[in-house]
Amino acid sequence: MTQAITVADPRLARRERLFQRINRAAGWLNVLGLGWVTPILRIAAGDNVAEQMSEIRKALLVPLAGILFFLALWAVLAPKVQTSLGAIPGPTAVLAQANVLLKDHIAERRKADAFYARQDERNAKLVAEGKSGQVKHRIFTGKPTYLDQIATSLLTVGLGFAIATLVAVPLGIASGLSKTINGAINPLIQIFKPVSPLAWLPIVTMVVSALYVNPSDLLPKSLVISAVTVTLCSLWPTLINTALGVASIDKDLVNVGKVLQLSTATTIRKLVLPSALPLIFTGLRLSLGVGWMVLIAAEMLAQNPGLGKFVWDEFQNGSSDSLARIIVAVLTIGIIGFILDRVMYALQSAFTFSSNR
């Protein structure tokens, strides 16, 4: 009896280790929104099927049912709403337009290839004629395809978010550490936080146009304008949460730092940042969400390239496919927003775990 416990069956031990691994992975899968994978893994590893099935029901079947119910409702109700652009498109029409957008992308790439082929031909001819001085390499000037617009939007929000983080974190730490600084910038935060991106946009446009005189090809003026608008709106959650995180450090830790006579830099590095990280990441996650939402509006209004412009252009086109394309864009925006949020949540969890260890 006792032997059975001490000398474990190696197979059992392996299984035990496998389950431990699954349990560890479960935490991460949950964070990434893949919680329904865990019970499937457990069944594969030989766990009680009935027990895990209820888990699967909870984590996978119920959400799927919700989505299917929504799709059915949409398919039934959409044709009942007649707009001047025709009926609201149902799921099938939207899927068809998503396909068309993909085909457009491929066709545009083909056009680009043809352009480069022609260019090479011209250049080869010039070289043959001994006019290699006239050889030109030019970039293809086609329309941005749907996938290009998605890439532009992601780049813009990334840039705006990066600027916001670089400004908000140091400022937040400063105002968390010092009551004076906090008192000085608090009213400003309170005033600027509720301002809509659309109000900032004209001002940002003018300022960026005045200061950013020689735009590089990689960062066109319009992209910088959208990015700065995103910055101005996504700054605040990070700033407030960082300040809060820094201000609520354990007093004992601060006192230890004082006793050891740590320099300010070391205090921030060794004490402040580690204990404030969870809240900083909470702030960053909120900021990215706000930034993504603001970006679409900014692109729409400023006609800067990206998904927002795509939506506006389609609205202006007013063709019978426009509504379906706009819905494709809405779903894309939603899915990308969800993925961005999950990525931030995963980072936040990673740091929270480490700080609680």
Binding site: S84, L85, D104, A107, R110, K111, A114, F115, R118, K136, R138, I139, T141, K143, S209, K221, Q303, W312, D313, E314, F315, Q316, N317, G318, S319, S320, S322, R325
Partner: protein, 449 residues
């Protein structure tokens, strides 16, 4: 279905390529069918034949477009004929804008809401076929405007820009029916002083939606937005600008004066490519229009449904639902020397600016001629045309060689008044409603004269 395969019209006989000072250009446009020359020059490789690498970019509205040309974000753009003139004389943003190429003739219409149409219809005589007699004069609208006034309701109409051809056409039509469209003054640029009908700006693509929302009861706009109202069943086009002024100049291709001085060969090359595109659009009696419609209906250009665009591009125009009539010259891109930048066209727009007070002070006849000469560049156009003829890409007969830049006086207007571009002040004085020689608008009154 490989969209827009390069048709390879490369003229093997191409003379020496121009030495281009700048070969990567960004050109702006508004989503209207008359941007066609730009789309065609791109899709058919005419830009590339000239060694130009062009990016075409739709703009939100006319103001944004003009501002971006002025700041240099755009190298050139599809503009309203009034825009380069207004910018140069300083009405609105001041900047010296020039044009070497006129983009098209006609192409606009005036549309009213279903309710206004029902009220108008009582005052429109019917022909033997039971259909309204065309052209419909604004006289039929007068009682409707009076009724609105009596009920204390504003009669709001939309047009696309204060210096747009649409604004002047709508005003001309209203005034010819004794409806005052309002004056501008230096202090009050709303253009609604003394107005019976209140005109305001709405971007072209939003016209149908604004009409549907009831914010306006009618509008004057280019295609496809008149036909769109018929398709959607929200309004009725009552008249085309072809009937207001036969073969009137509509859009131009605008650049800054600075650009043309800095990059003369690039300007020439652009003009050449655009002339070839215009020619392609009209050749063999509009044989290519169907293909042009397919290109324009793509989302990167106009993006409206092909059948809506086709309606006007292929020579028919639908007024009331089912009342389709032939208007073969509704969209002219090349015939009748459409692309040549005539001084007389510029002067007509200047007279209308003066008539409605956008030009506040009296100007003498010489000023009109000088202003037209500083904005319109027929010399560049003719040089481009000569080169095309030499290369065998155009026919000499298609260009008005030897013209002095003035069209003969014409009375092809809805009210039959003669316009002679060489006597602009006499013309202004011959119009019934509007400022006359020496008159100015002060406060809400007309003084002097």
């Amino acid at each position: 279905m490989v969209a827009g395969l390069y048709s390879g019209t490369a003229s093997v006989a191409a003379a020496e390529m121009l030495e281009l000072e700048k070969d990567e250009l960004k050109l702006g446009f508004i989503k209207l069918t008359d941007m066609a020359p730009l789309a065609i020059a791109y899709e058919k490789g005419f830009f590339e034949d000239e060694g130009l690498f062009v990016t075409l970019e739709p703009q939100a509205n006319w103001k944004v477009l003009l501002d971006r040309v002025i700041t240099g974000e755009l190298d050139g753009a599809h503009m309203l004929a009034g825009q380069p003139l207004a910018a140069t004389i300083g009405f609105g943003t001041k900047a010296h804008i020039v044009t070497p190429f006129s983009m098209d003739l006609n192409g606009n219409g005036i549309t009213v809401s279903n309710d206004v149409w029902a009220m108008m219809k009582e005052h429109i005589p019917l022909g033997d076929d039971g259909k309204p007699v065309h052209p419909i004069k604004a006289d039929a609208l007068k009682p409707v405007v009076d009724q609105f006034k009596a009920e204390g309701k504003p009669f709001n109409l939309g047009m696309v820009f204060p210096v747009s051809t649409h604004n002047y056409e709508l005003r001309y039509w209203l005034a010819s029916g004794d409806i005052h469209p309002g004056f501008y003054s230096p202090e009050n640029v709303s253009g609604q002083i003394k107005a019976d009908a209140l005109l305001s700006v709405t971007p072209p693509p939003q016209m149908p939606a604004t009409l549907e929302a009831g914010t306006i009861v009618g509008y004057c706009v280019g295609e496809p937005w008149n036909q769109a109202a018929v398709f959607k069943g929200i309004g009725v086009p009552v008249i085309t600008d072809y009937e207001i002024w036969k073969n009137n100049p509509e859009k131009v291709f605008g650049l800054t004066k600075e650009f043309t001085e800095k990059y003369p060969n690039t300007t020439l090359a652009l003009t050449k490519a655009l002339i070839r595109a215009a020619e392609w659009l009209d050749e063999n009696n509009n044989a290519n229009r169907a293909e042009a419609v397919e290109i324009l209906s793509r989302s990167e250009y106009v993006g409206a449904d092909a059948e809506v665009i086709a309606n006007s591009m292929t020579g028919t125009f639908e007024y009331e639902k089912g009342d389709k009539r032939d208007v073969p010259d509704f969209n002219v891109f090349f015939r009748h020397y459409a692309t040549y930048p005539y001084y007389s066209d510029a002067i007509w727009y200047l007279t209308q600016m003066r008539r409605w007070g956008q030009i506040a002070e009296h100007k003498d006849d010489a000023w009109y001629a000088e202003t037209a000469k500083s904005v319109y560049l027929p010399d560049v156009y003719m040089k481009a045309a000569e080169m095309l003829v030499e290369e065998g890409n155009a026919d000499k007969a298609d260009f008005p060689f030897g013209t002095d830049g003035y069209k003969a006086p014409t009375s092809d207007f809805i009210d039959g008044i003669t316009f002679d571009a060489k006597a602009p002040n006499a013309y202004i004085d011959s119009l019934k409603i509007g400022l006359k020689s020496g008159q100015t608008v002060s406060g809400s009154e007309v003084v002097g004269g």
